[in-house]
Symmetry: C2
Subunit: 193 residues, 2 copies
DNA sequence: AGAAACACTTGATAAATGACAAGAAATTAC
DNA sequence: GTAATTTCTTGTCATTTATCAAGTGTTTCT
């Protein structure tokens, strides 16, 4: 199997020698999931870390009214993780679900731990992955707290335009923290501009 | 200087042998700041990591209208960091400011890096610190996207009751993503219940 | 002590968004 | 290919929250 995209992702985030990257990705295994499949279910413990090579997916939780609240939309290529569940071996709060057919690479916690403690570059990479994800989430909190729905929509449209061709508006709306009716109206308004 | 609280914080997050913790905190230095002082200014590069031993502080950004948006409220004891700025040596987006007199321990990036690469338990601790902070932020995004202001206020009141005695309502309001007038009305309403 | 700045509340009104329901359009299933 | 299901839009109306402005009380500064 061709690990070009996976290997390149490591390179792009932190400069690692080619041989070292290959050593790191040696224990990554390929698999695929069809559309609307479940990668990781709520209330289970995440035992693997996933690299999404191709496709779109999301994570969501159920609120008190049993409505699905989309917490994240993932666009390949990227790592997909419930960090707390994986590293602390806690049950997940969220469910991870494919939105299109998806291609993945996965590896287990044992392998991650072994690499983390023996390969300095992998340590740096791991930390950077967390730091970058933290920063993105922080930006999203700021946006949620200080921008109105229309601005958040326009930002998303600019940052991840392709999700609008691959993810239902209902899911995008719940990711933006609004109802699908409101998103529909916002789209109508902004398309005039 | 007494590093009891600092050392204990390491223990509480991840089980580390006493001697190892003392080795880790050896290069942490004590300092204090008065109320309304600036710990870390926007557009500078964070060169140190901070442990807040006592006091209250916040981070904030300026939005387009030059209004301060509080991004985080910190209650001792906890680590206070701009992760991206510190680990990637990028300029900060946020300003970190004391809200009361504060007591800190700090150490530089060189020391963190040295510990990270030589002390396995410190690596685990560092990752856990990031993971836990990521998870908290994630919970906040979910709350912002799915709960109304009154619910968010009541949750905050339950989780960090003491900030209401130590932080101005204006700052708490902007942390909740609402105006101070709205917070004032919510408090009036909920106090009747 | 007095002035200035700040924090908090409250009123009136407007804007943003949600709730619910119905219908059209697209997709999926058999 | 048709029925069933889901997605998206739109209308009406209710709720939530913002805006602006005024007034009171509190802190800070000199």
């Amino acid at each position: 199997m061709d690990k070009t995209i996976l290997n390149h992702y490591f390179h792009s985030l932190f400069p690692i020698e080619k041989g070292t990257v290959e050593k790191i990705t040696l224990a990554f295994h390929y698999f695929e999931l069809p559309k609307n499949a479940c990668l990781l279910e709520a209330n289970t413990i995440s035992t693997e870390t996933y690299f999404l090579e191709k496709g779109y997916m999301r994570s969501f939780i159920l609120n008190e009214e049993n409505e699905e609240v989309t917490t994240q939309i993932y666009v390949a290529p990227c790592f997909v993780n419930d960090f707390l569940s994986f590293f602390k071996q806690h049950p997940t709060k969220e469910t991870f679900q494919t939105l299109t057919n998806c291609k993945y690479w996965k590896t287990g916690l044992t392998n991650v731990q072994s690499n983390f403690h023996t390969i300095p570059e992998f340590r740096e990479f791991s930390r950077l992955l967390l730091v970058i994800n933290y920063d993105k989430l922080n930006d999203r909190v700021i946006e949620m707290a200080s921008q109105k729905a229309e601005t958040r929509y326009l930002n998303l449209l600019k940052q991840k335009p392709d999700i609008f061709q691959n993810v239902s508006l209902k899911i995008i709306a719940s990711y933006l923290g609004i109802t699908d009716s409101t998103l529909s109206r916002i789209r109508k308004e902004t398309s005039k501009m």
